[in-house]
Amino acid sequence: MISRRNFLNLGVGAGAAAALAACGSEGPGTSGGGSKAGSASYWFLTGQPGEGIRQHAVDRFNQANPDAKITATTFQNDAYKTRIKTAIGAGQAPTIIWGWGGGGLKSYVEAGQVEDLTDWFGQNAAVKDRLFPTAFGPATINGKIYAMPAETVAPIVLYYNKEVFEKNGAKAPETWDDVMNLVTLFNGKGIAPFSLGGQSRWTNMMWMEFLFDRIGGSEVFQAIFEGKANAWSHPAAKEALTKLRQLIDADGFVKGYATITADSNADQALLYRGRAAMMLHGAWTYGSMSNDGGDFVKSGKLGYMNFPVVTGGKGDPSSTVGNPGQYYSISSKATAEQKETAKKFFKDTVLNDAEVKEWIDSGNIPIVKGTESSFASSKDADFLKFIYDTSANAKNFAQSWDQALSPTAAEALLDNIAKFFQKSGGISPDQFITNMNGVIGK
């Protein structure tokens, strides 16, 4: 017999989004993956090489723990961001919640949806001490740790195609003026200066993050993050936005950039096929460019560097932005057995030697201390050393803005960034600042 409540839940779940779904969130969690009591569910992102490595970790755990298995479900990046929020709101969260920490995690914490792991880390100091301390920043909300930092550190890097540079007698840019000169040079040769997957919006945001930091230092965004009134009106913000507008107007980005999404990897293809000379992108794209780009990476044609300085700017040239790690949280709605399974997974399997090796082999830096010795033998030794040094030596490793801010503020930011990046009819720096001041602290 179907009870009335179940019937309602059925109607709501299938019929109309999460409208009433919250009504179904009380009572025991239904987030179990398998049939056995301790079986946990785990959702994570697709996309190689991460997808395979995450799956292998799950497989290893399941082999060692036949009684308390983890069931994995995978999602594409942009789809996952909404799917996980809806699931958590509806009380259907997986036991292990894959995330980016920061503002998103904060909203889960405020709703009491994720486990406080502070005591657990206190009892398992060995787990904590072997990881990069910077990785704990986005996992810490109001002084408490709500997520297990995991996977890799991924700063944003300026990539360039060495072959294209050599052919055109260009040198890697050291200052913003060099950047603008290169734009003129490459446009003259019919090569796009910068590749960009502009429809994804956060790709455009990386440009703002660096320009704000290089011109005004890390305190400009810090004030915005803390919700200080009119923080976007900082003179450095205006200067950064003006410079960015000049770059857009000078055809700095590949023709049709607003049509390209990052999920399609077409932006990377433009770089390794020599159609674009440079690309500002996350360290994680190195792996996919090695996979998809033929012998482009193998034959050493991929150049990489930290973002150039802006002459007269206050920012530290060693600073960087990106993802200080990825974050696994435990749903507070999971059963006690499921939580135990998840903690066992964190302790025994996450970033164990086998997983660390897989990340390094795929050209990523896991957030585990003292892995330098394993790079030397890797085929990607130079890149790995570069990322390790960039991350370790950064005066400031800022988390990506859209992940640091609350989802509401992040959406307003991305929305205005999309409007700012429109080639024709885009909003002006002043409009951008006014719009963003309007949503500060939300």
Partner: protein, 306 residues
């Protein structure tokens, strides 16, 4: 949060006695139950949520008219309404004449037409998301159709310029739905008694004259049905636009349904998103009623003199 507008149903006064009415009422139960569960209950939930503040994760806080005020004072709302109207009007203008002509053509009983009918039907079998991904790949300015065929004209910033992006959306929508409406028109044309055409031929009417004087007037109700489906359906276009342009460039293709999704599920503002959902339902209902009015009372005969 789909806007469910009931399809226009002609209510006919029954002359039956009370005895035979009982089984008829029973037959309505499954449809009614579905409509209640999937239409009315979520609708009431959305109405309730529009008077609250909720981030989709934590507690639902009743907050009176806060959400309504924030949405109604947002310049994004008139823009989204305008975009929705534009998509509605343009896709109707593009689809109606074409599907009417194709429908009339397919109504013929020749073998090759039956074959073509099956071909035309194929786009309808594809999911909107798959369609959007395919067209996106074809329209990629660097690796798409323009590049592959070497045609410079096709190498536009299709989804990066407001007008082009709107055009692409209308084109893909039409490409997907013209087969469906052609099918409706095909059925409509086949219902027209051949005696009318025979009489017209005896009077010396040509092809064009027959089309404008017999086919078109006889299809009046078919046109209204098809238009209602197009107009009300265009309110809920979401998947296609979301995958194709994500509302961009900027907010050039951000229709109401997309605006609702972005507020609700990306910005975690369920209250304002619910307000937009309510507005969508009201607009949908209003349009459906208006189109019924245009159709007249629906009981005058179309076959007088036939």
């Amino acid at each position: 949060m789909t806007a469910l507008a009931p399809p226009p149903v002609g209510v006919r006064p029954t002359t039956n006695g009370g005895r035979s009415n009982a089984p008829v009422a029973w037959m309505a139960v499954p449809a009614l139950a579905m409509f209640l569960a999937f239409g009315v209950v979520p609708l009431l939930g959305v109405l309730f949520l529009s008077f609250t503040t909720w981030d989709g994760i934590g507690e639902i806080q009743p907050s009176g008219l806060t959400s309504w005020r924030s949405v109604l004072s947002d310049p994004g709302l008139p823009h989204a309404l305008w975009v929705t109207f534009l998509i509605m009007a343009l896709s109707w203008l593009a689809q109606t004449p074409l599907s009417l002509l194709i429908g009339v053509f397919l109504a013929g009983r020749q073998r090759y037409r039956e074959f073509l009918a099956i071909l035309y039907f194929i786009p309808l079998l594809l999911s909107s998301a798959a369609l959007a991904i395919t067209f996106k790949a074809l329209l990629d300015p660097n690796f798409g159709l323009g590049e592959g065929l070497g045609i410079e004209l096709l190498r536009q910033d299709w989804l990066g310029e407001s007008k082009l992006a709107m055009g692409v959306v209308i084109f893909v929508v039409s490409w997907q739905f013209i087969p469906f409406h052609s099918l409706i028109y095909q059925g409509g044309v086949r219902q027209i008694p051949t005696s009318m055409y025979e009489a017209a031929e005896i009077d010396g009417a040509g092809r064009l004259r027959k089309f404008f004087s017999i086919t078109l007037p006889q299809l009046k109700y078919t046109i209204i049905t098809s238009s209602t489906l197009m107009v009300v359906g265009s309110l809920t276009f979401f998947d296609l636009i979301f995958v194709l342009t994500a509302g961009g460039p900027g907010d050039a293709t951000r229709a109401l349904a997309l605006d609702m999704y972005k507020r609700g599920f990306q910005a975690n503002l369920m209250g304002p998103a619910s307000v937009i959902a309510v507005i969508l339902v009201l607009v949908g209902l209003g349009l459906a009623l208006l189109l019924r009015r245009l159709g007249g009372r629906g009981d005058e005969s179309q076959l007088e003199g036939a």
